[in-house]
Symmetry: D2
Subunit: 142 residues, 4 copies
């Protein structure tokens, strides 16, 4: 399988904690989004690029597996890995490392589809601009 | 001054607490928004009514005064009071009561202006549809 | 399998929408939490009951499947269904119905474990107080 | 008056936007918190330092003045300025600059008090550790 990764370091916000003193579980989806956006910036394929080409890429599935807690005052490294996919889908896997403890705090996955802005219908094949972008990347074979 | 009030009861969400075990201070703006929307429903002047009449009503000022904490598991009553105003502004005052302790947890204020959807400019006089709505309300003189 | 359900109706908050004009995907975890808490209230097994018995029940897995969007101004019905489980786990399935369109907006799942407050370790068998609660419920056989 | 400032650049998160396509007004309090925390890191007086000295510093007042919108994809610079204060209060002023347009998007203010962790009561005079910290800083006279 062909993979492409990017990682970003984030400091936990006080507003992201909950009454247990740890990051509220749902906020990991914000960490995933941050990593996905950083990936987009890094590899030059951002939400706005999608949009300017006439597509939305809504999420159809998200999944988080919690392994260890992250406390306020700790930082995390979030790695987003795109797997090249024959279908018209964007599949990312995530790993969140607690940089203070070196533990894996969470792993996860998101799946996005392509939706035409005009017709608001699901695209069954990958848009040409996206396939062109895929062909320009230097993927890692795993 | 002429006043109009509505109040709504809310249960604190776990995701709204922070690592101090209490409602994170910024979430009171969500409580204010909930009360403002309930006010809109009750008196039939909602965001979507504004929008359908060609206006946005963005917030230009918000203010929160914190008096006492609210813990997870507690409920609050949020009262939103509109003060009739000669200028083209929507001014609400808020009071958040902790229903478990009967303490005032917070007070606050928001100011909104009218902005034409077409021109994206500030309206200097109240839109006629809004003034018509004002005239239909039974205000309390204070 | 033995099931127990509760459902709650929620109005979408303006602060829960995103720049696409729909509920931001991560906010469904707040809807799930609301439904789970309402379930707890209804069947008398709340977070605080767990806590008072010496247990936390952290989430170890969450999953959301998005089927249709929900716009600001729409309401949703969130159904949380607990499946009785031999292992020391709390497994909920969720269904989010857009009450304006009658479409299924999302489905999902959460898995929680029991953690002793004192030892901060995973419980391998169900705590007695929880098993006693299970035995008092009127489950639906599906 | 004696002032001390720090500034931080932030990229707007997609989850921070609302259905108007702009940053939801309440999220500016997260920007303020980010700037305040960065200030704390920079000048070595963080929440955890307060806590380790036996104090909480809860917010008693927050205020936001909105001047211009910030869209998704734009970045902001948030400047937090502490004003030295004779009373036992921590007073910050904020300025949020939209780095894409160079406009001031918002200004604001927060006031925090000192609360003893043990007695949970308001401190009427500044804690010695905090006054010592104040005396070590190089303030700007304005």
């Amino acid at each position: 399988m062909k993979k492409l990764s990017a990682e970003i370091d984030l400091k936990v916000r006080f507003s992201e904690t909950d009454a247990m003193g740890v990051v509220w579980h749902g906020n990991y989806l914000k960490f995933f989004e941050d990593a996905r956006e950083y990936f987009g910036e890094f590899y030059k394929m951002e939400y706005l690029d999608m949009y300017n080409n006439g597509y939305f890429t809504p999420l159809v599935k998200t999944e988080i597996n919690h392994k260890a807690v992250v406390y306020y005052g700790q930082a995390v490294r979030v790695k987003a890995t795109l797997t090249q996919c024959a279908a018209a889908k964007i599949i990312f896997d995530y790993e969140v490392i607690n940089l203070t403890t070196n533990e894996i705090a969470a792993t996860g996955k998101t799946i996005q589809i392509f939706m035409s802005e005009k017709t608001r219908t699901l695209e069954l094949i990958k848009p040409p601009f996206y396939e062109a972008w895929e062909n320009q990347q230097v993927w890692t074979q795993i």
